[in-house]
Symmetry: C2
Subunit: 196 residues, 2 copies
């Protein structure tokens, strides 16, 4: 054990609380009192442990994105590209039912439109969304190589389309759409999947 007074709170639990606040209120909509109250710590502890508001957000985002990427990769790892995107869309619809998590996707809710201060955060989220789209594109490229997607298909167009649908689902979710509503959206979106 390291020297000095041990911290009285759990790092991961506190970060998780912060994540949930940012997730539901967005970066700009979250105040430091919001954070300290949810995390159960006071301000200097927050600053000493996590840097500042922006760094705290980035740490929370990192945790969210790591978990998120893991699930994405697992979900995309299906025998066929169609099966992969099917599981992804329905997974998102069903995941929206979870009452423990805020609605929607942090990469969308976090900082979509914002003032100058939050611009770097906004851009970081754009990059992360791009990364997710790229993962999907690669899965579709594999699908073309595997022969389960027609070779004339544009993998990047298709990936952009499904990324778009998922972002839209995030909005629908915060707007009060039920998991069943979202399953309907997923079903429609799958009708766009290219077939020979």
């Amino acid at each position: 054990m390291s020297a000095g007074r041990p911290r009285e709170f759990n790092f991961d639990a506190a970060l998780d609380r912060a994540l949930h606040v940012f997730w539901s209120k967005g970066y700009e909509g979250t105040s430091l009192p919001d954070l300290t109250e949810a995390m159960g710590i006071n301000r200097p502890s927050l600053y000493a442990t996590f840097g500042n508001k922006e760094e705290l957000f980035r740490k929370a985002l990192e945790r969210y994105a790591a978990e998120s990427k893991k699930r994405l990769d697992e979900t995309l790892d299906q025998p066929t590209a169609y099966g992969a995107i099917e599981k992804l869309l329905y997974g998102m619809a069903d995941g929206s039912a979870c009452p423990k998590s805020p609605k929607g996707c942090l990469l969308v809710q976090g900082a979509l439109a914002c003032g100058e201060d939050a611009q770097p955060i906004k851009e970081e989220l754009v990059r992360r969304r791009q990364a997710a789209e790229t993962a999907m594109r690669r899965r579709f490229e594999r699908g073309i190589a595997d022969g389960d997607i027609p070779p004339t298909t544009s993998a990047s167009d298709l990936a952009r389309f499904y990324a778009t649908v998922m972002h839209g689902m995030s909005i629908q979710s915060t707007g009060g759409a039920s998991p069943d509503d979202l399953r309907g959206v997923a079903q429609c979106a799958l009708m766009a999947f290219p077939r020979k």
Copy 2:
């Protein structure tokens, strides 16, 4: 002409400037100095003329939504439901090219995730998005009645799907997607349109 000192700025022009600020920065991301600077007026004039920040937003939103609804209704008024949604999606893709307007849709960008203060605004935007979805649903119902959509189709599911795609396109647009990128999305989305 009414008594008293005439105002030195143009009401509509100032409101339009305010709209553009809210549109690009969101409700919470917009500060009063942002507004007064863009509108070319000082604070007391803003309050005397438009109420307060929230009322100003609502007035700007009203103007945006009126214009938006007009275009939506015009666009949906096509001979076939497919033609209507086709024109709507491509119109959105091409509209994103306009350098005068901020990227994305105000109904999405305005207040997606926010703190307590902005919650009423957020809810108002949810209602407006719902209204747009309803207009689309009605067009699809007409399409079913007209016989150009298979009668087994769920108009509400289909409307929710295309609303979802459009919201997603708004996000793609702020994320830097080009009109061409969005046209690709539109093309994919149209593949989901029900056929006999």
